[in-house]
Point group: C2
Chain length 142, copies 2
DNA sequence: TTCCTTGCAAAGGCTTTGCACACCG
DNA sequence: CGGTGTGCAAAGCCTTTGCAAGGAA
């Protein structure tokens, strides 16, 4: 059973109806194996059919997030990306200069989250982190 | 010389004209000693006069950021906050549940930024970080 | 006087929402 | 069939921008 079928089954189990639109949206995100904006998801789906509206994409992605099947990360500057949960925890490294997004191992956060818990009693969510700075290429240009 | 006078002097030195609007906007942000949204800055200024427009607030805040006199942090969910540089580097801990924003010592980031530099060649900007999770109160409620 | 700044209103980009119709179960 | 889900278009929210008038230097 593929990943997108797992997600579709999960929605069905929770009493949601499975429409062609939802299937295609889930497939697009699950198969990409990466984080995507709502607009990017729509673009992928549109390669198969035009019978999907951006509003439906937003509604479906929000549903996935709400049900814990996907995550939403706000990269700032109006860029919000989604990814299915199988695409495990990772840090988004956003380059301020070229806008490229790199992903880093979320395990690196362990010392920080421990310290925040210890000193501030703040339980940090490691699934949705975006950090800003300069990527190697842009740093060397400066 | 107060902090806001320092900022105003810095702008003047760089050839910018000092208008009552700019003065009030800089004062509002500098005196608050915390991070504020553009709307909040406008609100404070409006307690003194109505002769300031939100567009001017945005333009002035952007100018401060551009000149390195203030920082802009995107907290996600459309919340963008500004703070003067004197309000040193800190991490914004944003509670997903109650929306409250706590600040934490940016020094805690040192191990993480070192690892990102080492392993990903990514130069992380520690002045604009927002982390999400649950504050102590909301975590205990759950 | 010069031309930087401002206010106003309109435009922009992204996202949400109201509504009637479609269609899953 | 009943009620959820969809498309469409409009509205909303935050922010930026064009333009003419205002005012700092």
């Amino acid at each position: 059973m593929t990943h997108c079928h797992t997600l579709i089954a999960a929605l069905r189990q929770q009493g949601y109806r499975m429409t062609p639109q939802r299937e295609m949206i889930v497939e697009a995100l699950a198969h990409s194996g990466r984080h995507m904006t709502a607009e990017e998801v729509l673009e992928v789906v549109r390669q198969r059919t035009r019978a999907v509206n951006i509003a439906t994409v937003y509604r479906t992605l929000d549903l996935l997030v709400e049900k814990g099947l996907a995550t939403r990360t706000d990269l700032g500057e109006g860029r919000v990306v989604y990814a299915t949960v199988r695409h495990g925890p990772h840090i988004h490294l956003v380059c301020r200069h070229c806008g490229r997004v790199q992903e880093a191992d979320a395990a690196l956060l362990a010392p920080l989250t421990a310290a925040l818990q210890e000193q501030y009693r703040f339980c940090c969510d490691t699934g949705h982190i975006a950090l800003y700075g300069l990527c190697e290429t842009c740093a060397s240009e400066t």
